[in-house]
């Protein structure tokens, strides 16, 4: 049984965001949406987290931060880009300091569009990420598969 889909713990990182998506991510935890129904907990700690939620685009200064957060997470792990800035850079794409979407730095598994992304679509994106997480778990349990994932990480 894939217990990882029953208790996905989330790490939320704010890139170059306007804070709109961050507020919506936190809104998911409020009584109205209550993601803890699905066992989702917002951890503040990459070593406990299964899903990395990134809001906002990536800039030159936060590339090492994002990479380190991702590296510190234990396998299996997935990355969800929340909002259009995290997906492609959004309206900030042309800025001199903005590199672009999160996928320029990390292997993003799910893109959640929107400006700001609605809590419903964020929950939808996380639920989609759970399927990928389950697949990765199956993959990671095989020894060879695990090595391959590590190699992929190393390439990035």
């Amino acid at each position: 049984m894939k217990f990882v889909t029953k208790s996905p713990w989330i790490l939320h990182y704010d890139g170059t965001s306007c804070n709109g998506c961050d507020i919506e991510v936190l809104a998911c935890l409020t009584p109205l949406y209550d993601v803890e129904r699905f066992g989702i907990i917002n951890t503040g700690n990459p070593k406990h987290a299964d899903i990395l939620l990134i809001t906002g685009s990536v800039n030159e200064q936060n590339i090492p931060v994002v990479k380190q957060l991702y590296d510190q997470m234990a396998e299996p792990k997935v990355v969800v880009a929340i909002g259009i800035c995290a997906t492609s850079g959004g309206i900030f794409a042309e800025c001199y300091n903005v590199v672009g979407g999160v996928d320029k730095v990390l292997p993003v598994d799910v893109y959640v569009p929107g400006c700001a992304a609605r809590p419903e679509s964020i929950i939808d994106g996380v639920v989609k990420a759970l399927d990928i997480l389950a697949q990765k778990q199956k993959y990671a349990r095989k020894k060879t598969g695990k090595n391959r994932i590590n190699q992929e990480t190393a390439k990035i």
């Binding site: 217990f3 208790s7 803890e36 066992g39 917002n42 503040g44 396998e75």
Partner: protein, 286 residues
């Protein structure tokens, strides 16, 4: 037969502890106007952590949490088989100390702060636990749990102050607000996760299971105050355990986290007033 019963109790203890934690999470959610996770959520969490990769910081780091679990199991088996309550309390403290060493073993600033806070917490609650043991001896002339729970008068009659003090410091042991400064269950920041910051995967699962054992140990201490030789009193004692646990959940939701100075002084003031005055009065009348 006795040994079999003991093994059965020790195997059942984490399941009951995990279930209580799950009920706790549902009640907490309802108090906050949320639906909350399924009751079996703590078991899902632990099973997930077992299946995940464990990141090893260094070789000693993992060893300490496993030793801590062994001492928690040891304490549970002593208490549930009616053994010496003093030995149980000291074994529990030893387990906590190993857990603290685990925090120090990784050179992470967050887990070192967590370890220091855990040591301060141990210093805050330990006098009251020892006073409770002394009080139980005063009341029942024995340190053995099986003799304490087979007396004609429940220990609570002699030790109401000690019991209230114990309920106060159980908040530390159950890691509930306002005294959850070393390792909180509601950790949205690294510093609040304290000692567990550097643990992941199976090691974190072991820490969680250790906590389930600790829930059972603390509730057993409550049980001892109410149980007498009559079977009906054991039912009352279980009801008292449930009420105390519910009270702790309310306290958890009603209070903000305190600074260590406030946690420390309030625990010692309660110990000094409730515990020591109760024992003084008891020694005067006996």
């Amino acid at each position: 037969m006795h040994i079999l019963m003991n093994i059965l109790f020790v195997v059942a203890a984490p399941f009951v502890g995990g279930l209580l934690t799950g009920i706790d999470r549902v009640i907490t959610a309802r108090m906050q106007g949320r639906q909350g996770p399924p009751v079996l959520q703590p078991f899902y969490d632990v099973m997930k952590l077992v299946q995940k990769e464990s990141i090893e910081v260094n070789s000693m780091h993992r060893f300490f949490v496993y030793i801590s679990l062994v001492f928690a199991i040891f304490t549970t088996s002593i208490l549930l088989s009616g053994g010496d309550i003093l030995l149980a309390v000291f074994a529990l403290t030893l387990g906590s100390i190993f857990f603290v060493l685990g925090g120090y073993a990784s050179n992470s600033p967050y887990s070192i702060i967590g370890s220091e806070r855990e040591l301060l917490q141990i210093m805050a609650y330990e006098p009251m636990v020892l006073l409770a043991c002394v009080g139980l001896y005063y009341a029942d002339n024995s340190f053995f749990v099986k003799e304490i729970i087979n007396n004609s008068i429940p220990a609570i009659v002699y030790l109401p102050g000690v019991f209230l003090g114990l309920v106060f410091i159980i908040t530390f042991k159950l890691r509930k607000s306002p005294f959850d400064l070393s390792m909180s269950h509601h950790g949205h920041q690294e510093i609040v996760k304290g000692i567990t910051t550097e643990y992941s995967g199976r090691d974190l699962a072991v820490i969680e299971v250790t906590h389930w054992f600790e829930v059972i140990i603390t509730l057993t201490l409550v049980f001892v105050f109410f149980a007498t030789e009559t079977p009906i009193s054991k039912v009352f004692a279980l009801v008292a355990c449930a009420l105390v646990y519910f009270l702790e959940i309310i306290i958890d939701n009603a209070f903000a986290r305190l600074k260590w100075q406030q946690a420390f002084t309030s625990a010692w003031i309660i110990t000094g007033t409730m515990g020591i005055i109760n024992l003084l009065i008891l020694s005067f009348f006996r």
